[in-house]
């Protein structure tokens, strides 16, 4: 039962990622694109965790943790660039 549920959930999250890519391409403004990227990395974390459950290993959690940290820093850097025109003042 868990295997089928896992596949359904992976399908849902993949569809969500595709919708994010649609917003990433369409825009129309730069903040929309940054927001789409922000959502995309959160979805990537979900996919990695689902992959970990499917394969029965915990090794991928470290990668998910790194993506969580780096994705946040990336979003803040891009938002700050949009607001101020530079990242480190």
């Amino acid at each position: 039962m868990i295997t089928i549920t896992l596949y359904i959930t992976i399908g849902m999250v993949t569809l969500a990622a595709l919708l994010n890519v649609y917003r990433l391409i369409k825009g129309p403004d730069a903040p929309d694109r940054v927001l789409a990227l922000d959502t995309l990395y959160v979805n990537a974390i979900a996919l990695i965790i689902l992959l970990g459950i499917t394969l029965g290993t915990r090794m991928y959690l470290e990668a998910a943790l790194l993506i969580a940290v780096m994705g946040f820093v990336g979003t803040v850097a891009m938002a700050k660039y949009l607001k101020r025109g530079s990242v480190i003042e």
Partner: protein, 110 residues
């Protein structure tokens, strides 16, 4: 694995997947930037939170102990989601993105 744990994992996985999808649908279909901001900050964060909790239950029912890394991921996501939403909203206000026509009130001038 006990029957109860299995049902709990399936329920959490489906809830998480559904919320993630709803967040993305909101991002794709809502009319302007400030309304789009609501989908990812709430629905997606809760969706990923549910998926992470199902992972915690799965690995602890396999007898591998409670995963601390998963809990750290959840806490980190819940701490950073409002911060990134806030800083993105500030950036959008600075650039002056257009708001949908039926919005009452105005963003501040920078």
């Amino acid at each position: 694995m006990s029957q109860f744990a299995e049902y709990a994992i399936c329920l959490l996985l489906l809830t998480g997947g559904a919320f993630t999808l709803v967040g993305a649908i909101g991002l794709a279909r809502l009319p302007d930037f400030f309304t789009r901001l609501h989908g990812p900050t709430k629905a997606t964060t809760v969706g990923v939170g549910a998926i992470v909790i199902s992972s915690v239950i799965y690995f602890s029912s396999q007898g591998e102990g409670i995963g601390i890394a998963e809990i750290l991921i959840t806490v980190f996501l819940f701490m950073t989601a409002p911060v990134s939403a806030n800083i993105l909203a500030k950036a959008a206000m600075h650039i002056g993105v257009s708001t949908v026509n039926n919005t009452r009130g105005k963003p501040w001038e920078q």
